[in-house]
Symmetry: C2
Subunit: 117 residues, 2 copies
């Protein structure tokens, strides 16, 4: 919804460990303990990452007995894709033209000689 919600998603995706967690959850729901196994860090470190993912809406949680089932919610990622990243495809052609015009002459270049650093 708001810019702030998207910010949480971007910040959640900014960490490699969290992205790996999302990768694991793409195969299906997992308990917290299962999610901890592939990582070298503490279980609590993983839980804090999970908390960040839950806050961003990327992971949904249910309790089942003494276990905690973490499920991927792909909706926020799709949202920022549609609202944010898609636009860069739309303008990509224009920007690539800019780049071509500004950078395509290695020798004569933009003004005088841009050859040297």
């Amino acid at each position: 919804m708001s810019e702030h919600d998207d910010d949480l998603v971007f910040k959640a995706l900014a960490d490699a460990t969290r992205r790996r967690l999302l990768d694991l959850l793409r195969d299906g729901p997992r308990t917290t303990g299962e999610l901890c196994e592939p990582f070298a860090v503490t279980r609590f470190a993983i839980m804090k990452h999970l908390h960040a993912l839950v806050t961003a809406g990327l992971v949904l949680v249910q309790r089942r007995g003494r276990e905690r089932i973490n499920t991927l919610n792909p909706v926020p990622i799709r949202r920022i894709q549609r609202r944010w990243l898609r636009q860069f495809e739309a303008d990509a052609a224009d920007r690539l033209l800019d780049l071509a015009q500004h950078l395509e002459r290695p020798a004569t270049s933009t003004r005088k000689k841009a050859s040297r650093a």
Copy 2:
């Protein structure tokens, strides 16, 4: 191309100011001074953000006299879209089914009666 490069892109996108900078650059190349105007922060703060964007490969720079031309490079965003985010669309249907099965009972819900776990 490595995971590390993608990490730089994700980290660059994690900041709202940097995303706004990319938005501005979607309209075309801009000098550093032009990019600073819409923001309330110091010019140098913007320059540090620009440096992060350059490091991630999202912005390309050319010098023109005493000016610095910043140009959007949409390639890295497209890369992480294709390598990373697209996969979440592929598994979205499966995960949504998981969610439906686990969460579909509305009010009485989580208690023991909905045993279908």
